[in-house]
Subunit: 341 residues, 2 copies
């Protein structure tokens, strides 16, 4: 009969450790979408429990946990691990890097996924793109940024790798967990903080303690999240389950960006309605940040052979993308954004 045979097929149970709190229904939600899809496609025979940041591993301990096999998989932003090797950032976001669509193209149809997987193999992991936030905002500031000189001495909470660029501009990057940013800004321990975008930022209430909201987040033009899976655990899967994992990740990848796009406009309107002042970074600040970023990359090309190999491919792909996007995509978007609909 059918029933005993179905039971004979061993159920698979995995644990997924997220670097994000449950409150981030956007990013944390992408891991839920992934797990729900795996369960549904496998008819309940493959179950993955999703654990929020800190539940079974610290937020930034997820790569160690996957590498050692203490959890089968993680959902994280690879650039958190640039301290292990700067190359992690190339699988996520680097200052003045690719936008969301370009990053996805590099991953699936360029050399991105192949090259990043070769690199992640050193950590006993295989990666799957697992979401993108789109271009993030440039953060919340207690005072306006009018010139490059205003960055001098600016104490700013900023995510990992971008701090190196801020430092070269005279800023003082601070590493502060999401839950502590509000108090630090309120007390004036820091002068500025970047997090994600309107929908997520509004939840943490930064608008109440810093009036100026800057754009664009030049250090995160299209940051990609990844699912990291322990290589041994992945290799033990059947061909069907491997295909299921890949497709479930693609669903999460696509719907997470869609969710950000759907949620951000309303949140932005609310923030502005409550008095938030939107500001574009001055061109001189953008240019100086670009210059300093390129200097950081030049140094890394000298020092880090993993970086050099992948960065070369990344930049070439990006240059060609920008060549093409500036014609029909940009012209269409610019025209539409100028219309009253």
């Amino acid at each position: 009969g059918v029933a005993p045979a179905v039971q004979a097929q061993a159920a698979i149970r995995w644990r997924l450790s997220s670097s994000f709190p449950k409150a981030l229904d956007t990013i944390h939600g992408a891991a839920d979408v992934f797990a729900q899809n795996v369960k549904a496609m496998s008819g309940g025979k493959f179950e993955i429990s999703v654990h929020a940041a800190g539940e079974i591993t610290p937020p930034f301990g997820v790569v160690d946990a996957v590498q050692q096999g203490s959890v089968e998989m993680a959902h994280t932003a690879p650039y958190y691990f640039f301290g292990k090797n700067e190359t992690f950032a190339l699988g996520c976001a680097i200052p003045f890097g690719m936008n969301s669509r370009q990053m996805t193209a590099w991953m699936y149809e360029g050399n991105g996924l192949k090259l990043m997987r070769e690199f992640y193999a050193k950590y006993n992991m295989i990666s799957f793109p697992g979401g993108n936030t789109g271009a993030q905002m440039g953060g919340w500031y207690r005072k306006e940024i009018k010139t490059v000189a205003d960055i001098k001495g600016l104490k700013m909470r900023i995510g990992g790798f971008a701090g190196r660029v801020l430092e070269r501009m005279g800023g003082v990057p601070q590493n502060i967990p999401g839950g502590e940013i509000y108090t630090s800004l309120e007390k004036g321990t820091i002068d500025a903080a970047e997090w994600i975008g309107p929908y997520d930022d509004q939840k943490l209430g930064f608008n109440k303690v810093a009036p100026f909201y800057y754009y664009p987040g030049w250090w995160e033009g299209g940051p990609q999240l990844d699912f990291f899976i322990n290589q041994k655990a992945y290799d033990a899967l059947s061909a069907e389950n491997k295909a299921i994992v890949g497709a479930a990740a693609a669903v999460a990848h696509t719907t997470m960006q869609a969710k950000y796009d759907a949620k951000n406009p309303g949140a932005l309107k609310e923030l502005v309605g409550k008095g938030t002042k939107l500001r574009a970074f001055p061109d001189a600040v953008m240019k100086e940040a670009f210059k300093q970023s390129m200097a950081v990359y030049d140094e890394l090309n000298e020092k880090n052979p993993d970086w050099k190999k992948i960065y070369g491919d990344y930049r070439k792909f990006q240059a060609e993308q920008n060549l093409w996007f500036r014609f029909t995509e940009m012209t269409f978007d610019k025209f539409m954004q100028a219309q009253k609909l």
Copy 2:
């Protein structure tokens, strides 16, 4: 034992009819990706054969075929069927509509998929987003378009719905299958023709018979392809197979856009290298086309209640998207496209 039980589970075999020729490895390829994923995830128990345009149904006969159940599913551009009801175009592209990312957000996280499925239910079909080309080019022209007056009398091959706008501008839209465009342009039977973008257009050799290549394709800022499945065939699937179909469609949806993005830049460079002259539509032409498009929509709102209901939601979503995209996304992209990488 396991083996007999596996055999007892009936194999499912479906036929998918595509509106596109095999030579379009981009769009036709998305149906192949879908079928391969379904097969892999089901461990070979669910097989879908992909049939190119004309193989079992004419390219524009696929909706009738799915509705009647003579094939289980199709892969097509919904706007081909605007003659049945203009509402089909809202699930694909309308002049001055949403871009690719916005369309995906409306589908997955707005009301898009829900509303379009309610409409497609009238045709006994359920839909799944199945790819996007991104903003298309505005086509190939034997002579330059310098003023709105240059559109007067212009005989142009243009896809379906957009012809109504061209007509209002004094143009003469022509319905010509892909394979006959080249000869028509060469002979001068038509003055202009739009197809897709550099990668696909180059294959058909339009650059040899028309020197001017215009952008943006204002009638196709982010056209979405769809998988249409006969409702009865879909309902007969197990919960697992339904989940597999949905995820396989999402994989095809995401990787098709990625493929266009990866392939178009190289093709554009080659075309320009061979003498193609890139031209932006003059602002006056864009504005007149926008005005005439809005007039078409006003008329449709009066005449077509299906259209009116969905268009209202579409436009509201689009207006909010554009509000948000003009800040951090646009500013980031504009800055990057101005840099030498």
